[in-house]
Amino acid sequence: MKQIQKTLSLLLTFMKIGLFTFGGGYAMIPLIQRETVENKKWISDEDILEIVAIAESTPGPIAINAATFIGWRVAGFGGALAATVGVVLPSFAIITAISFVLSAFQDILWIRYAFNGIRAGVLALIVKALWSMYKQSQKGIFAYLIMFGAFAVTAFLPVNVVFVILFCAAAGIVQALVVGRRNKR
């Protein structure tokens, strides 16, 4: 019985988190912290740091990673499922609704003008995101080589992004092994 209650509570809590965080990703972390640490006391502040670190080093959206992880910690597989479904459901419902009406709006003149402005604004948001990710990334010759290489290859050659990602991950592993061996000597 307690298990069912917990699972239901996970579903509702993560629906709330999914519904009230705009922008996704790191924007969701403070709300996740407030709901799961302060309100429900399911996990600790340290766990939140742990979860962010793991979400960063595993693929996929951070919100999904965090929801699955916390759900599993609190109530096992059923909990993971409930939390993940919960965090996805509001997006899914809202975007589905929007996708049916968006094309109807796009023919209205003032909305077309609005989107002309918005496109320039969105580029600025990407510049900002790029800058924050640059700051978080390692510095040094190896990191700059990877950065520039990934940029040049995808910008100027018809190369699939997947290959660039796999190659850079492999390069990172090789570099770690080489540095590790050098340090041992």
Partner: protein, 186 residues
Amino acid sequence: MIYLDLLLTFLKVGLFTFGGGYAMLPMIRDEVMAHGWMDQNELIDFIAVSESTPGPFGVNIATFVGTRTGGIFGGLCATLGVVLPSFVIILIVARCYQKFKSNKLVIGAMNGLKPAVVGLIAAALLSLSQTVFFPAGWSVSVFGTAQFYVSLGIFTAAVVLAFKKLHPILIILLSAVLGVIVGYAV
């Protein structure tokens, strides 16, 4: 088979994007354009929609692309695709996350992936900028069009405001208002 295509494509997106949010943009751009599901303008417009609606970017765009190409069931397939890799991998990692976190190979891979994502986003940004500033391709004649200077003005203002930590939704709203004013004035 559109449903299988949506599922597999977004599985790939979910599996190969690290960092979430805008880190997913390069891969998503690649895939939706290769499939002809969206052009660059539609993609930029949808980023604005995604910033102004709740939820993660990856889930939002999966749902949107899926619904537009394959109805509600298409949306379901694409969303399931983008979520499934995270879900499965976290369930595996959650059992041994202390070991995972301090694993030399994982740390090494992340050292390669983090700067790679920076380079990939820069490349996506360059390509999207071309669509906004040079819609008819690179040419000097662009510098004679009002649209170019309007976009450049809004972009510059938005960059300043973004770095002053103004909320993304406010930046989008402001850009929209400026776009409407200029649209009727020019």
